[in-house]
C-alpha cells in the first residue's frame, strides 16, 4: 500500500523527505500517511491531536 509523508503529503516512496523528518521534531503531522488528506490538527501546550476524516485520529500521547 502506498504511504505518504505526514509533513508534505507527497508519496513516501518519492524519497527526499529527510528535511521533513527533521522538521517534524518541532511540528505535528499535517497529512494522513494513508491517504495524504490534510488533517485537522489541534496543538495544545503539552501535546497535539491530528484527525483524518477517513482514517481517524492520532495523538502525541
Amino acid at each position: 500500500m502506498e504511504t505518504y509523508c505526514d509533513r508534505c503529503g507527497k508519496p513516501s516512496a518519492d524519497g527526499g523527505h529527510e528535511a521533513c523528518r527533521r522538521a517534524r521534531a518541532l511540528e505535528p503531522p499535517r497529512y494522513c500517511v494513508r491517504c495524504a488528506r490534510r488533517m485537522v490538527v489541534q496543538v495544545t501546550p503539552m501535546g497535539w491531536t491530528a484527525r483524518c476524516v477517513e482514517h481517524g485520529a492520532l495523538t502525541s500521547a
Partner: protein, 331 residues
C-alpha cells in the same frame, strides 16, 4: 567615539533609561567578539531592573486557521496554500490546556485566535472559556484576538483578562512588506486602547522577516515608545506554503545580539522567549539568552508548531537559579 556598552552601563544600568533606536543599532552592529560583553551587560540590566524571577507562560490556539489577513509569516492565513486547516478548540479542551499549563508552574495562560478581530461568537466563546478556566485552575489569563474595538477592550477587562497580546510584528517601515491587509497604525491603535483600559499590554514581534539591522533597531525604539509590559521575541520559523517559506533562519549570534539590544532598549519590560528559539538558538543559545536579558518564556508547544519539552526549560531555570514568578507592570 565612546563605546556603546560604556554608555549603556551608565544610561541603562545605573539610570534605568533605555537605549534609543540609534543606540540599539550600535549594539546590533557590535563585532561578534563583543557579543559576550553585550549579553553580560543585558543580564546585569535585567537583574537590576527586573530581578532574577522568570515568568512562565503557556499558549493555546482557540481558533486555528482560516484567517482573512495575509501576514506573510503565518501558516494560519486563509490566503495561502498552507497545510494548516481550520479548527476550534472546545471549552473542556481549553480548560484542560490551562490545567496542563498550570501544572508546569506557569502563572500565565494565553488564549489566541487567528482572526482579524473577534466577532460575537468568538467573544462569547472566550467569555465561557475564561469562566470555566477560573472555576478549574488558578492562573492569570491573557488573550490575543487581533484588532479590537473600544467596546471589546472593555468587555475583555470585565471578563478578567489581565493582559492582551497584540504584536506590532516588525518596524513600521518594514510592515508593508509583511502584511498588506491592515496597517501597522491599526495595530498601534489597538495597543493604545488596551493600555488606556488598564490591561497589561504584551506587544512584540518576529525577527528575521527580511528586515534590515536598522529596522530591527527602529523596531526596538518603537516598542520602547509604546512601553508595553511585555515584549515577546519570536524568530522566524519559515512555514510551508507562506510567502516567507524560503527565508533562512536568523543566525544564532545575530539572535543573541537582538536579545541583548532589546533588553538595553527596554530595561524594565518582561522580555519573553517566544516561537523559533528552538531552531534559531538550540539548547546552548537558549541558555545564553536567559543569561543575556530574557526573563520570561513560553513553555511547551506554540500555536501550530511544537516547542522543546517543558521539563527541559524548567530544568534550565532551576540550574540558573531563576525562580518562576508572575511578573507585571510593577517592574
Amino acid at each position: 567615539m565612546t563605546d556603546i556598552l560604556e554608555v549603556a552601563r551608565r544610561q541603562v544600568l545605573e539610570e534605568g533609561k533605555g537605549l534609543t533606536a540609534e543606540q540599539a543599532y550600535e549594539c546590533l552592529t557590535l563585532p561578534d567578539e563583543r557579543l559576550e560583553d553585550l549579553l553580560a551587560l543585558a543580564h546585569e540590566v535585567r537583574m537590576r531592573w527586573c530581578g532574577p524571577e522568570v515568568e512562565v507562560e503557556g499558549i493555546v490556539s482557540l481558533k486555528t486557521g482560516g484567517c482573512p489577513e495575509d501576514c506573510h509569516f503565518c501558516s494560519q492565513s486563509g490566503r495561502f496554500e498552507s497545510p494548516v486547516r481550520s479548527v476550534w478548540l472546545n471549552i473542556p479542551e481549553l480548560v484542560e490546556a490551562a490545567k496542563e499549563t498550570a501544572k508546569t508552574g506557569a502563572t500565565e495562560f494565553c488564549i489566541v485566535a487567528a482572526v482579524r478581530g473577534p466577532d460575537r461568537r468568538l467573544m462569547d466563546q472566550v467569555r465561557e472559556g475564561i469562566k470555566a478556566i477560573n472555576e478549574a485552575v488558578e492562573i492569570n489569563i491573557a488573550c490575543s484576538l487581533g484588532m479590537l474595538t473600544r467596546e471589546q477592550v472593555d468587555e475583555l477587562v470585565a471578563m478578567g483578562v489581565h493582559r492582551y497580546n497584540h504584536n506590532l510584528e516588525t518596524a513600521r517601515s518594514h510592515f508593508p512588506n509583511v502584511v498588506t491587509t491592515h496597517t501597522w497604525e491599526e495595530r498601534w491603535e489597538t495597543c493604545l486602547m488596551v493600555k488606556e483600559a488598564g490591561m497589561e499590554l504584551c506587544c512584540g514581534g518576529i525577527i528575521g522577516m527580511g528586515e534590515t539591522v536598522e529596522q530591527r533597531a527602529e523596531f526596538a525604539g518603537q516598542l520602547a515608545e509604546l512601553e508595553p509590559d511585555e515584549v515577546p521575541l519570536n524568530f522566524l520559523a519559515p512555514r510551508p506554503g507562506t510567502p516567507f517559506e524560503h527565508y533562512g533562519l536568523v543566525e544564532g549570534g545575530e539572535a543573541l545580539k537582538t536579545i541583548g539590544a532589546f533588553r538595553l532598549a527596554l530595561p524594565r519590560t518582561i522580555l519573553r522567549y517566544a516561537g523559533g528559539r528552538e531552531l534559531t538558538l538550540g539548547d546552548l543559545g537558549t541558555r545564553s539568552g536567559m543569561l543575556g536579558g530574557i526573563n520570561a518564556i513560553i513553555v511547551g508547544n506554540y500555536l501550530t508548531t511544537l516547542g522543546r519539552p517543558a521539563e527541559q526549560d524548567l530544568q534550565l531555570l532551576s540550574e540558573l537559579r531563576m525562580p518562576i514568578k508572575a511578573l507585571s507592570k510593577t517592574l
